[in-house]
């Protein structure tokens, strides 16, 4: 199904249900991988919610992205347990290896880094989660060597 068609189905189901804006945006992001600007206008027409308000909600919550992301979303945990166990260094290593900072995407469109607060696996700190079309995979007890290995493995898979 075409992406716009998929979105229209979502709007058909939720467009008139009060209080559904967040759900609609979540489903939009599932479809497009992010929330494109022109889609905001489309949602506005269907829901009669002003674009400014949709934009306000989309920028309030950290889950929503207004830019496309890479094939693999690398979520680096910066929660307390991970922080105490050296997540800063791990994040720096990942940034250095990929040549991008938090929130950015590699030029080849494969990786995006996103710092998050706690993935709920604190006893395995430091932790990161890799999200892709195949699902989520969490890695714990990270070391500088281990993250590089994991990223190299993904790179070689994509090469």
């Amino acid at each position: 199904m075409d992406k716009m068609e998929a979105l229209d189905k979502v709007l058909e189901e939720y467009g008139k249900v009060p209080g559904s804006l967040i759900t609609i945006l979540q489903k939009t992001q599932d479809i497009f991988g992010y929330i494109p600007k022109d889609v905001i206008n489309h949602i506005s027409q269907a829901t009669k919610v002003k674009p400014a308000k949709i934009y306000g909600v989309a920028t309030f919550y950290s889950q929503f992205r207004l830019e496309p992301i890479g094939k693999y979303l690398i979520m680096m945990c910066q929660g307390t347990a991970c922080h105490v166990n050296g997540s800063d260094e791990i994040a720096r290593e990942v940034s250095e290896y990929l040549g991008i900072e938090d929130g950015q995407t590699t030029e080849d469109g494969i990786f995006t880094i996103n710092n998050v607060a706690c993935l709920g696996c604190c006893s395995l700190a430091p932790v990161m989660m890799v999200r892709s079309a195949e699902g989520d995979e969490t890695f714990g007890n990270l070391t500088k060597e281990k993250v590089v290995e994991i990223l190299e493995e993904i790179r070689s898979r994509e090469a």
């Binding site: 209080g19 309030f60 889950q63 307390t80 607060a117 709920g120 604190c122």
Partner: protein, 579 residues
């Protein structure tokens, strides 16, 4: 014979899926007819992946840290051969981790298959309530139990339920707060993943008590597995008639739905959560009116935490008295703590309230990683504070922990050793609250920013005389000038570290020293006379700050050094020190 693998998020992160695949492969190859079952987080996260093998006579052998190789051997020797493998099994010392606990909330976690309602049971507590009790009687039992909210504030649950019951509206809502915002706490996730039915049953009972028409679970988006297991559990409960129309023949209709959060810490606050449920930006509003009077769509709404609800079915079955017998003073029952940080045995610990911190951290948690010196434990996350080593005999009750300046909070316990810099901890939490402030109150929005700037300059070695006083002044202003709990408590991590570790702040500001060797700008790497001149460090240095003649002692140019520590990690002769 039964084989069960712990598959909470933590188990899966350590490779439980691979272990399952290896078990299944070996079972298939050995032509055995055994299914590999699933259970939630067992709580001993430091031993994952965990495989439980039950012999036909019911005897349990618990295998720990089972990789693919071990899995194949277990099938070969134990499942097929009938001989348990001692050396892979849990040690008696590690067994103590669970034996020393009192598990009520976690009664089923790691025991039952969370995706199979038959293993949970028949919602006996809800059945009893709906078929034989009046709403007031239910609230009376909860009052007798002394149950207080486990989401942070510790407010008596019966009081909230009663306030919602007294509202005349026909349309009322009961909401489960599964936002688990404290970064470093994971007990709610484990309960949702390991025993979702206990939460649903608790919500049914609470919903009945206040006369709700619908239940909503607000679950944070970072917990996809919890959402999936809840959905499965709800579908099964509906099929059994435990949710839907005319529950247990009582004539009362009730169903529950999930709303996934979208990543905002402030949405854990009740009024912000309600705004978010309504599809708005999650901004808190002034109370009163309390949600009990005007909540979701302006209707009476009761919000409780995951753990609070999970306690409820147990209380209804065992009675309020049994619950109240545990605990100390006005802090009744048990509390689940998520032990993490520099702790040997990280995981979930449920103990009666009133146990000293020492028992939790040392007896059960096994003490500090690498036998380092215990420095402090952070409780209550961004709203809480650090309890220092000398107060280790503090009892874990709402009252005693509050006295230290920290809070029990949702139950996160991050243990710290001498390598954790307390100023950096304060900076870390301020960075978090600054980012998560919704921006409504000026003090919370800008005050936290100014506090963060001061803390950043202190940890960068640029602290100035008067910074501590300025921090204190701002801290009290932010507390006073904020509308919701986020701003009111955001300065706590700063205030508690200032109270107990003021000397560290002074070291940073006046002596430009970080005694924990953690603040990068304040550490200094040097090459000692142990150096044999192998030149490896100079090759590792990314900024060419190290020079020297081969076979002679090398030196680091401090002006060029970016303090990345790569030289120290690379040195084979222990010749580089960090000061």
């Amino acid at each position: 014979m039964k084989v069960i693998v712990g598959q909470g998020s933590c188990g899966i992160a350590t490779g439980a899926k691979k272990t399952v695949a290896a078990l299944e492969k070996a079972i298939y190859e050995n032509r055995l007819n055994i299914k590999v079952g699933t259970t939630g987080c067992i709580g001993t996260c430091y031993l994952e992946p965990i495989v439980d093998v039950y012999d036909d006579d019911g005897k349990l052998t618990r295998y720990v840290k089972v990789d693919e190789e071990k899995a194949a051997k277990i099938v070969e020797e134990h499942i097929k051969g009938g001989k348990p493998i001692e050396e892979f099994a849990i040690s008696s010392e590690d067994e103590q981790f669970l034996e020393k606990q009192t598990r009520i909330v976690l009664r089923n976690c790691g025991k039952i298959d969370p995706e199979n309602i038959e293993e949970y049971g028949q919602y006996e507590a809800a059945r009893k309530v709906l078929t034989s009790m009046r709403r007031e009687q239910v609230i009376e039992v909860i009052k007798e139990s002394g149950l207080r909210g486990r989401g942070g504030a510790g407010f008596p649950t019966w009081f909230k339920w009663n306030a919602a019951l007294e509202q005349p509206s026909k349309e009322k809502y009961i909401v489960c707060n599964a936002d688990e915002g404290d970064p470093g706490a994971f007990m709610d996730r484990s309960v949702l993943e390991g025993d979702p039915h206990s939460v649903l049953e608790g919500m049914i009972i609470g919903g009945f008590a206040i006369g709700a028409c619908e239940g909503i679970i607000y679950c944070r988006a970072e917990y996809p597995l919890a959402i999936k297991r809840l959905e499965i559990a709800m579908a099964q409960a509906r099929e059994k008639g435990y949710l839907g129309k005319n529950l247990f023949g009582s004539g009362w209709d009730f169903d529950i739905r999930i709303k996934a959060g979208a990543g905002a810490f402030v949405c854990g606050e009740e009024t912000a959560l309600i705004a978010s449920l309504e599809g708005e930006r999650g901004m808190p509003r002034l109370k009163p009116p309390f949600p009990a009077a005007k909540g979701y769509w302006q209707k009476p709404t009761n919000i409780n935490n995951v753990e609070t609800f999970a306690n409820v079915p147990w209380i209804m079955v065992n009675g309020g008295k049994a619950f109240a017998q545990m605990g100390l003073g006005p802090s009744k029952g048990t509390k689940v703590f998520a032990l993490a940080g520099k702790i040997k045995k990280g995981g979930l610990v449920e103990v009666p309230m009133g146990l000293p911190l020492e028992n939790v951290i040392f007896d059960i948690g096994g003490g500090i990683k690498n036998d380092a010196q215990f420095k402090a434990v952070q409780m209550g996350g961004p709203s809480g504070g650090c309890v220092p080593g000398e107060l280790i005999d503090t009892k874990v009750t709402y009252e005693d922990i509050n006295k230290t300046g920290a809070i029990v909070g949702s139950g996160g316990m991050i243990v710290m050793d001498e390598t954790t810099c307390m100023v950096d901890m304060a900076r870390y939490f301020l960075e978090f609250t600054r980012k998560e402030s919704c921006g409504k109150c000026v003090y919370c929005r800008i005050g936290t920013m100014r506090m963060l700037e001061i803390l950043e300059r202190i940890t960068a070695g640029e602290g100035q005389d008067g910074d501590i006083e300025k921090l204190e002044e701002l801290a009290y202003k932010v507390k006073e000038g904020s509308l919701c709990g986020l701003g009111q408590t955001a300065p706590n991590p700063v205030l508690t570290t200032l109270k107990y570790f003021r000397n560290e702040y002074e070291d940073h500001i006046y002596r430009k020293k970080c005694t924990a060797h953690s603040c990068q700008a304040l550490v200094k790497y040097e090459i000692t006379d142990k150096c044999v001149g192998c030149s490896l460090c100079s090759k590792k240095c990314p900024v060419n700050a190290i020079s020297g003649k081969v076979k002679e002692q090398f030196t680091i140019d401090q002006n060029l050094c970016i303090k990345c520590g790569k030289c120290m990690l690379g040195c084979k002769f222990d010749a580089i020190t960090k000061e």
